[in-house]
Symmetry: C2
Subunit: 145 residues, 2 copies
């Protein structure tokens, strides 16, 4: 392909990636509103529902986010009473993030979210393609990390 053509929006990978990411976030929003959380807050909960009591750094590694993003985000979540932040006794530099009862109980309400969203696109975007897309994105992430 010509260098000129590569610069066009339609030929770039970066734009559909950027746009699809925002669109998917919007897709989650009405469902997450019922739980009174944002999309990044949902991702943090997903991580904690899998294994509770993580440090800020551990959450950051899983979500590829730095503490300058996480600290204020976690503080907002603490205010909402879905997580608790406590300094580690062993290493006072670390802050341990634990789910509150409210945070734990949100999991039950969240269980239906992935299924509901997949059901919504299944007709026009088959599950096999979702899987292929997921794997390609993971592979790309590996390369970029």
């Amino acid at each position: 392909m010509k260098v000129e053509a590569l610069l066009q929006l339609d030929n770039q990978l970066c734009f559909p990636l950027y746009a699809a990411s925002r669109m998917v976030t919007k897709l989650y929003q009405p469902l997450l509103e019922k739980l009174d959380i944002t999309y990044p807050q949902y991702l943090i909960l997903v991580v904690l529902w899998e294994s509770d009591a993580l440090t800020v750094n551990e959450i950051g590694k899983k979500l590829m986010l730095e503490t300058n993003t996480l600290t204020p985000l976690l503080k907002r979540m603490e205010i909402k009473d879905i997580i608790k932040r406590t300094r580690s006794k062993i290493d006072e530099r670390q802050v341990i993030i634990k789910l509150t009862d409210k945070g734990s109980s949100l999991k039950q309400q969240a269980l239906c979210i992935p299924t509901e969203l997949l059901e919504g696109v299944k007709g026009q975007f088959p599950l096999e393609r979702v899987d292929r897309l997921k794997n390609d994105l993971k592979a790309l992430l590996e390369v970029l990390t």
Copy 2:
């Protein structure tokens, strides 16, 4: 797959999409820094380099962005003297966005960007897979629009 498993980070499509989008933006950053522009500003330029003199709305449709995002973004670009904003004479509600000489000339410096980035990943992520990923993302976008 079990409902419980679907909620795990590793099985969700949304997370690699979100993370890959941010990673790719970071990949562009050192190259865009030389042009003194941000990633969303680059996307606006890509659109204008293809067809100059668009309204805010037309840019918004191409990039799937609302005016509440675009207006401040375009104002920052005007301050940098890479675009010019002028009210349309025919319809005074519309604002026409035109490249300045500086904005036009940036295209020459940007031409190498897509090639350079593709070269960088080619070894570990073949071009065929880039194309497949691009097409899958475009298809997903279609479904979500």
